[in-house]
């Protein structure tokens, strides 16, 4: 039995992808944990900013919304949407955006708007917010998903945020100057994108699962030939995440019984 939860290994796996000095466009939830844990462990000079305009806040308490007053404190600059969103495309910055979505396809295109269609909608989600902007303009994108067949789909119901479009060089042909998804971090493993085809493949699977199970939870053909088992979280990583980053377990959620078994 593992001594960590899926949420914990997701936050740590995403955190491991952050480089020191990255400028991180964070949402709330898991992306806050990933950004903060990376800063505390290996990327102390990474900077977090929010689309609402909070640039490099001290984050003494975890914000629960990008408009939380906690993103306005200890900042380098307090600004607004125009300033913050335009930072995404600054050519001298390695801006990395964390995004989530309701659906993803094999090229990392995202849907956070609706299921069905405008004519016959079956479900409504909040919409793009700044996700489409980040996916269009950031240097790179890290995506969080629950790994379920109904979310990893052949075709999106609505295409909100651009990934690698139809693969290959289609993204640059469409007029984007840079960017594209780097990784998809799920509750089962981490997917990356082939350098040439830009199609998603399984990079690592968590110790409590296996590539076959992940393939079964994916609604399109997923290349598992390159898959390796992920390193389990170290005691240091877990301790920083639990004691330093989210001591109230606002985002980590309740400690599951298995940890005490």
């Amino acid at each position: 039995m593992e001594n960590y939860t899926a949420t914990e290994i997701m936050a740590l796996s995403a955190g491991r992808l952050v480089h020191n000095g990255d400028i991180l466009f964070a949402g709330t939830g898991l992306s806050m944990l990933a950004a903060t844990v990376a800063k505390r462990i290996h990327a102390p000079e990474a900077i977090v900013f929010f689309e609402t305009g909070g640039i490099d806040p001290s984050l003494d308490e975890l914000p629960l919304a990008v408009a939380d007053p906690r993103v306005m404190v200890g900042t380098s600059v307090n600004s607004g949407l125009a300033d913050a969103l335009s930072l995404l495309c600054h050519p001298k910055l390695r801006t990395i955006a964390f995004l989530g979505a309701a659906q993803i396809d094999c090229y990392g295109n995202l849907n956070s708007t609706l299921l069905g269609s405008y004519e016959k909608p079956r479900q409504r989600f909040p919409g793009s917010g700044g996700a489409c902007d980040a996916a269009s303009m950031a240097y790179g994108v890290i995506i969080f998903m629950q790994h379920q067949r109904r979310r990893f789909v052949e075709k999106l119901d609505y295409f909100t945020s651009p990934g690698w479009l139809s693969g290959g060089d289609s993204r640059s042909r469409a007029g984007f100057k840079r960017g594209g998804p780097m990784a998809v971090v799920t509750d089962l493993g981490v997917m990356k994108f082939d350098e040439r085809t830009r199609k998603m493949y399984l990079d690592v699977y968590y110790p409590f699962t296996n590539p076959e199970k992940i393939m079964a939870e994916t609604g399109f053909t997923l290349d598992i030939t390159r898959a390796k088992e992920a390193l389990p979280p170290s005691d240091t990583e877990l301790s920083i995440l639990r004691k330093d980053v989210d001591p109230q377990r606002l985002i980590l959620g309740p400690v599951p019984a298995m940890i005490n078994d």
Binding site: T28, G29, E51, T52, G53, G54, D60, E61, L64, A65, V66, A67, D68, P69, R70, V71, M72, V73, N78, S79, G80, L81, A82, L85, S86, C89, T113, L114, Y118, P121, R122, Q123, R124, F125, P126, G127, S128, G129, G130, A131, C132, D133, S136, M137, Y158, F159, T160, S161, P162, L165, R173, A174, G175, F176, K177, L250
Partner: protein, 319 residues
Amino acid sequence: MTLNRMIASDAVKKYIRDGDQIALGGFTVNRNPMLIIREMIRQEKKKLYLVVHSQGQAMELLIGAGCVRRIELAYGGVARFAPTGYRFKKAFLEKKIEVEDYSNYQMTLRFMAGAMGLPFVATKAGLATDIVRLSGFPTEIRGQGKVPLHKLKIMDDPLDPDGGQVVVLPPLKPDVALIHVQYVGDDGTCRICGLTFADIEQAKAAKTVIVTCEEIVPADYIRREPDQNSLPHFLIDAVVQAPFGAHPTACHHFYDYDPMHLNLFKKMAPNDDSFKKYLDEWVYPFDSQEDYLDRVGIRDILKIRANPALGYAPGLERR
């Protein structure tokens, strides 16, 4: 210049008409102009046309109370308390409202274009997506009233032969902008503390600006540090003093968002009957902010009161 100081009911009566296009300030759980919103519901404003970027609580109430016909937005939710707004979702799925989806940057640029008098504004954000391919508004309303003839246009960069395609967006010039700020000088000068979101662009783009504020302070006080000010006095049409006027959303340096209230709303919002009960308990009975705050209660108000050093309520139980 003398301050056009009004009470909420007079400001709504005088400046907001059925069918108006309204820009709502704030962002999800922060600085929503809630006092004015409740007053608009009491006065049964109808067929409103909202233009917003990421709107939460204010939009939820207006949609739920049946005041809204049409929305252009980027995001409809109240953060963790309602990742998708309950009333927004329900009205959308039941086709009670017409919705056009944009992104936050696109909406902000459109407000900015309206404020700056630009005929259009271009960006790379959104290329190739359904945001630029599909329209949620019915074709027959295009070009009518405030509805732009085109949601947007995709074209080749007209200046750079290697620039590729761009998204060309229409400006926004709402009839009314509603914003809640921390301080207004008694000359009308506005000061927003913390993040401004797109409030400044929204106010500058609008024909009429109604500002609610926590405090009205002497002009010579607010002009002592003009670097901190957000909007000049002559752009403001009416000022309504509204202590805790953004409650249950936050107002930096004055109070945090109210998790107790937002969790209560979360319970009452999804169902039509319980939402009606919410309106009966929290909106219709109160024609003064004091009565509303009485209902919230001093205990909860003290819990969310901001620490002056931090601007929020440290240790607030936020689950």
